[in-house]
Structures are given as structure tokens and as C-alpha cells.
């Protein structure tokens, strides 16, 4: 009914003076919905702050935790908010067994977590979208093949899948290269374990768009399949993909943390948030709680706020829920 009211009535649209792009954006439903949800506003702020902190880590962090020369072993296990009597360094969130500043480690660690997360999502998104488009547009045996592979992969938990892929890739590489390429292997492993949901969403959307009359009109003109696919269908199926991508980012960050926590991800010399948590848990019961707690909270905040944003975006962009 409300649709009947707002969109279906046959009306000569009144032509108002064209508002600027920015004004149109500020007036859109998305901004309206955003402004009315304090939780979403908070999640946006937290996300932005953490992204910025990670991005500008070298300028913010008091030390570079990846550079052993900057670590002061003598400052090991400094509690939060202390200034070292020996070096005069201030440890906002304390330091770990190597004398590494936990605050700096978190900044650099979330940098790696976000890098891996983004790269893995983009990898999965591109792969999944390409396969989904192919399956949905061409159909037939290609569709059957791709979707059966996807079904089989879905029967494994994705973290197990990532572990498996990680192990297989590492098996082909000489041991000496493991630390260097860890980050790339991690991206591929998480990306490969995650393409299925993009492929499924894109395949479904492609089949819907393919049957719509604007695509048929393009086919009547005789437009080649390549043009129809990239000019008409792809732009129209991207919306659900981007929403999945946002939620997928949170999952990829957690997947990376899980792998690193299990000791198969980032090495202790280049710690991500997951690695920091793994290292920190050794000290959980010996009194140095901050080594575990602060990286854990950082991961929680990051994953939670990205996830909240993704959920909100999905709701606001989903026409069925409106």
C-alpha cells in the first residue's frame, strides 16, 4: 500500500530545481536511517577511528613493534599507564615479555588484520562475482559445475577450509619463505574459503536480472553477451555483493585472527591482532592481563562495529524490508 502511495501512482513528476549531489545524499533514505540509529552512528565512529589509527600507525605509535632494535627488553611486563624507570618510555597499555609496547603492537596489528581482511574480501568478492556471473548468465553445465563445487565447499566450516588451503599452499613453499609470504598465503586461504557466498548471491541476482526486460531489450538490439554482462547485469547485481562484502570483512578479520591464534597465520615477529592474543594468553594467569585483554578488546571492537555497519547496510538497502 505504501508502495502504492509513493511509487505506483501515475504522475507527472514535478520538476524541482536540481539539488546538488551532496544535498541529495544528505536527504537520502540511507542518511535518514543512519541519523536515527545511535548504535550505527557509534559503530561508524569506532570503525573510522580504528581504520585511521591502523592507517596512520607509524605516525601514532610510540615504537615500531616489528623492529627488534626498538624493543627494550628491560621494560618487559610494564603494566598499563606506567613510565619506565630505565628508559623513560611511557607504556599506555603496558608492554609484553619482549618489552614491546602493547598499544603500538595493537596499532600495527590491526593494520595487518585490516590489510588481510580487505584483501581477502576483495579476492573472494572478485572470484565469487566472476564465477557467479558465469554460472547465472551461461547456465548449463558451467552453472552445475560451479554450484556443485560451491555446495561441497559449504559442507566444510570455512575456518577448516582456510586451514586446509593454508596448509596445502605452505606445503608447496620452501620453509624459508614461510614467514615472508605468510600474509599472502593468509589472504588466499581466507579468500578461497569465502567466495561461495558471493558466487551464490551473484548467481541468483544474475538470473533475476537476466530475465528482466531491459536485458531482453539489449538482446533484441543484438548487443554482444559481453556488453550485456558488463554494462547491464554486473552493475545491477553489485549492491547485494557490497553488502555481503561489508559483513564479510568482519568475518575475514576474525578468520585471520583465528588462524593467527592457532599459530598458522602471522608469525610472532609480525604480529596481527590474532597473534597478539595467542601470545597474550600465556600470561593470562600470571598477572600480566593487559597483554591479552587489550588486543582482544581491539579485535572485538573492530569486528563488532564493522559487523553492525554491514547489518545496517543490508537492512537499509534491502527493498523487501522497507
Amino acid at each position: 500500500m505504501s508502495q502504492d502511495v509513493q511509487t505506483r501512482n501515475d504522475t507527472a513528476p514535478v520538476v524541482p530545481p536540481k539539488p546538488s549531489k551532496w544535498r541529495t545524499f544528505l536527504d537520502s533514505d540511507i542518511v535518514y536511517s543512519w541519523k536515527r540509529q545511535p548504535v550505527v552512528i557509534l559503530a561508524t565512529l569506532v570503525t573510522l577511528v580504528m581504520f585511521a589509527a591502523a592507517l596512520f600507525a607509524p605516525w601514532i605509535a610510540p615504537q615500531n613493534p616489528f623492529d627488534p632494535r626498538q624493543l627494550e627488553l628491560i621494560d618487559a611486563f610494564a603494566p598499563p599507564m606506567t613510565t619506565s624507570d630505565f628508559t623513560g618510555n611511557f607504556y599506555l597499555l603496558g608492554s609484553d615479555s619482549q618489552g614491546r609496547d602493547v598499544f603500538s603492537a595493537i596499532l600495527y596489528g590491526s593494520r595487518i588484520s585490516l590489510l588481510v581482511g580487505f584483501a581477502a574480501v576483495i579476492f573472494a568478492l572478485v572470484l565469487g562475482t566472476a564465477l557467479g556471473l558465469l554460472a547465472g548468465f551461461r547456465g548449463g553445465w558451467r552453472d552445475a559445475l560451479i554450484m556443485r563445487i560451491a555446495d561441497v565447499q559449504l559442507t566444510f566450516p570455512s575456518i577448516l577450509m582456510a586451514l586446509l588451503i593454508f596448509g596445502v599452499i605452505r606445503g608447496f613453499l620452501p620453509r624459508s619463505m614461510h614467514a615472508e609470504v605468510a600474509i599472502i598465503v593468509l589472504i588466499i586461504a581466507i579468500g578461497l574459503s569465502d567466495w561461495v557466498q558471493y558466487a551464490r548471491a551473484v548467481r541468483g541476482a544474475t538470473m533475476v536480472e537476466k530475465s528482466k526486460e531491459y536485458v531482453q531489450a539489449a538482446r533484441v538490439i543484438g548487443l554482444p553477451a559481453r556488453k550485456i554482462l558488463f554494462q547491464h547485469i554486473l552493475p545491477n547485481v553489485l549492491r547485494p555483493v557490497l553488502v555481503i562484502g561489508t559483513i564479510g570483512l568482519a568475518l575475514a578479520i576474525i578468520a585471520e585472527a583465528t588462524l593467527s591464534f592457532l599459530g598458522v597465520g602471522m608469525p610472532a615477529t609480525q604480529p596481527s591482532l590474532g597473534t597478539l592474543i595467542r601470545v597474550g594468553q600465556d600470561y593470562m594467569f600470571s598477572g600480566e592481563w593487559w597483554i591479552l585483554l587489550f588486543p582482544g578488546m581491539a579485535l572485538l571492537l573492530l569486528a563488532l562495529s564493522v559487523n553492525l555497519l554491514g547489518d545496517w547496510l543490508r537492512d537499509v538497502l534491502n527493498p523487501k524490508l522497507r
Binding site: 501515475d10 533484441v220 543484438g222 545491477n236
Partner: protein, 349 residues
């Protein structure tokens, strides 16, 4: 008010050359379950004979309408003609050229024929790419068929087209969602006209519109036909709309043509029992308070059509021959062609 006229004036087209000829068109769809399900459930392959042996010809400048209830195959015929579906059987000739393999021709190979016809679709909310500006949508055929055209010329042409369909050239910069259903259908028509086609296939162009908007669109289509000498293949389920638009009408039932006749002829003296039934079922303003003659039964599932004449289970005049033998279209002296054993044998008028 406008004056009533007996017929749409006999256009010079009535005796014109044949532009499109369809012979024995057929299109089957495989509607079986996937292979694994078939093996497990031991079910047979299922074939839907959406169109099964349809033949007609359209002369230059005339309007031929295909009319029938849902599942009769009229939209499939339209899609066969423009090459959206490939033919299972049959032959299509457009202005002397065999285009039976149009669906499998790609890109430039088919451009020579394709630029001479265009299609208008039913759903104004799905027939325009929602992410494109109206100008880009209307310019699409121009960009493809006339790549040599400069973008300034193309923009000017798009403006002309918009004005031709009763809109403003300024509308080119707006997006489809800013327009109502009727206006979107005008944009669709402008896109179809862009490349000056000779032949338009119109698939239920007004069935999603309100009546007053329908009148605007139908009038526009008639005006364009007069101005450019367009030939229409018009698909509709609405007998009154079909009567208003057509020179000749083909009544379809379950994938076959039951009767094909000049418009006036069909409305005044329908021969096939199904044509009579369809006409009797039209709700009419003239019949206030009168009940329509109620016809029993519904269109059967086209996957399992009845044997012989597909209409025989609903036909009051069916006999043993109707159950066994598929009737063929037979020309009559009054200009109509009818596929009915009863009419052929003289049992029915």
C-alpha cells in the same frame, strides 16, 4: 468527441508486400526436473510445447495481433520473431531474408536485420536499466548500430525522440525511477524508435498501465504508425485493445492458432468456438447488469495438452474426430482461416 468510424481505414498496406512470414514455427521448452531428481524419482523428461506449428504473414504497414489467454504461446511467438529464443522448428522470413537462425547469430552478423525491428515490453518497471539515465537508455541502439554518430548528434536525436513520444528533451538527464509507468512506456517506445525501425513487436505494451494512460499510449502508437508506416506485431490478452489496434487478428490457444481473420470479420463473425467464447467473455460497458455467458472450464496445463484439438474438452461441439485429430488451419472464402473440424465439415457456421 471523436467520430465513430466503421473500420480502421484500409491502409495501403492491406495489399502491400509481405514483410514478415512465419511458417510452422515451433518452440519446445525442456521443463524436466534436473537429471539427478529424474533418476531418483524415476520421472520422465517433460516437454512444454509453448508454440507448436504457428504460421502467419504480416504485410508492410499493417498490424497483426496475437490474442489469447495465459499459456497460449503468444509471447513466445514474439520472442521467436525477434530471436530471443531459437526455433525448435519452422522458418522465419523477414523482407525476403531467411532469419530462422537469428537467435544464434551474434553481434554485427545480425545487425543488418536487427536494426530494422524493435520490441516494446510489458513491464515499464523492468524494461529500463534502473542505473542508466534516460538519454543513455534511448541512445543505446544508436551507439550500437551507428557508432560513427557523434555524441552531439546522438544527444540531439535523443531529444527529438523524447519530444516525439510526448516528453521533454530535458528528461534525458533523469533516471527511470523519476517517471510514472506511462512515461516509462513512452521512454521504451522512444528507445524502440531510435534507429528508425520498420517493424515493431509489442508484447502487451499497455497491460500494466491504467486505462487513461493506456489510451494515451495506444493513441501514440497509432500516430507513430501513421507517421512512419510502421508494421506492428501486437500481443495482448485484451480483446478490446486488440480490436482497437489491429488490421488482422490471430486467436491462439495452447500453442496453436485457432483462427486468423481480419479484425472486423473476427468480431462480427467468429468461426472457431474458442473465438466465440473469448468474445463472449469480454466484460463490456455496454452490458451493464447483464451477466456474461459463462463458459465452463479453464485452460489446461500446457505440459499435458489434450489430444487432438486442444480445445475439445471445453468445446460444446466436440466429437470423436476432435479428440483424435489435430485440426489444420483452412482458409475460408470470407478471408479468415480456421482450425476447427466442425467448421471444416460444415457442422458449425
Amino acid at each position: 468527441m471523436c467520430a465513430d468510424t466503421a473500420v480502421k481505414p484500409a491502409s495501403p498496406a492491406a495489399q502491400g508486400e509481405i514483410l514478415l512470414e512465419a511458417q510452422d514455427l515451433a518452440r519446445y521448452f525442456d521443463v524436466s526436473k534436473p537429471w539427478l531428481n529424474r533418476v531418483i524419482e524415476r520421472s520422465e523428461r517433460l516437454t512444454l510445447r509453448a508454440v507448436d506449428g504457428v504460421g502467419f504473414s504480416i504485410r508492410r504497414g499493417e498490424t497483426l495481433s496475437l490474442v489469447g489467454e495465459s499459456g497460449c504461446g503468444k509471447s513466445t511467438v514474439a520472442r521467436l520473431v525477434v530471436g530471443l529464443y531459437g526455433l525448435t522448428r519452422g522458418r522465419l522470413t523477414f523482407d525476403g531474408e531467411d532469419i530462422s537462425d537469428l537467435a544464434s547469430r551474434t553481434g554485427r552478423q545480425a545487425a543488418g536485420v536487427r536494426k530494422r525491428f524493435q520490441m516494446i515490453f510489458q513491464d515499464p518497471y523492468a524494461s529500463l536499466n534502473p542505473l542508466w539515465r534516460v538519454g543513455t537508455i534511448i541512445g543505446e541502439p544508436l551507439r550500437f548500430f551507428r557508432p560513427e554518430m557523434s555524441s552531439t548528434d546522438r544527444r540531439r536525436r535523443v531529444g527529438e525522440l523524447l519530444e516525439q513520444v510526448g516528453m521533454s528533451a530535458m528528461d534525458a538527464n533523469r533516471y527511470p525511477h523519476e517517471f510514472s509507468g506511462g512515461q516509462r512506456q513512452r521512454i521504451s517506445i522512444a528507445r524502440a524508435l531510435a534507429n528508425e525501425p520498420e517493424f515493431m513487436i509489442c508484447d502487451e505494451p499497455t497491460s500494466a498501465l491504467d486505462v487513461s494512460v493506456q489510451a494515451q499510449i495506444l493513441n501514440l502508437m497509432r500516430d507513430l504508425q501513421d507517421e512512419y508506416g510502421l508494421t506492428y506485431l501486437f500481443i495482448s490478452h485484451d480483446m478490446a485493445v486488440v480490436k482497437h489496434m489491429s488490421d488482422r487478428i490471430a486467436v491462439m490457444y495452447l500453442g496453436r492458432i485457432a483462427e486468423i481473420a481480419p479484425a472486423e470479420q473476427l468480431f462480427e463473425h467468429p468461426h472457431h468456438p474458442y473465438s466465440k467464447m473469448l468474445l463472449a467473455a469480454v466484460p463490456s460497458l455496454e452490458g451493464v447488469g447483464k451477466e456474461r455467458s459463462v463458459i465452463q472450464g479453464e485452460v489446461p496445463n500446457p505440459v499435458h495438452p489434450p489430444s487432438g484439438c486442444a480445445f475439445h474438452p471445453r468445446c460444446p461441439h466436440a466429437n470423436a474426430r476432435c479428440q483424435a485429430e489435430v485440426p489444420r488451419l483452412i482458409a475460408r472464402s470470407d478471408g479468415s482461416e480456421v482450425a476447427c473440424h466442425g467448421v471444416e465439415e460444415g457442422r458449425l457456421p
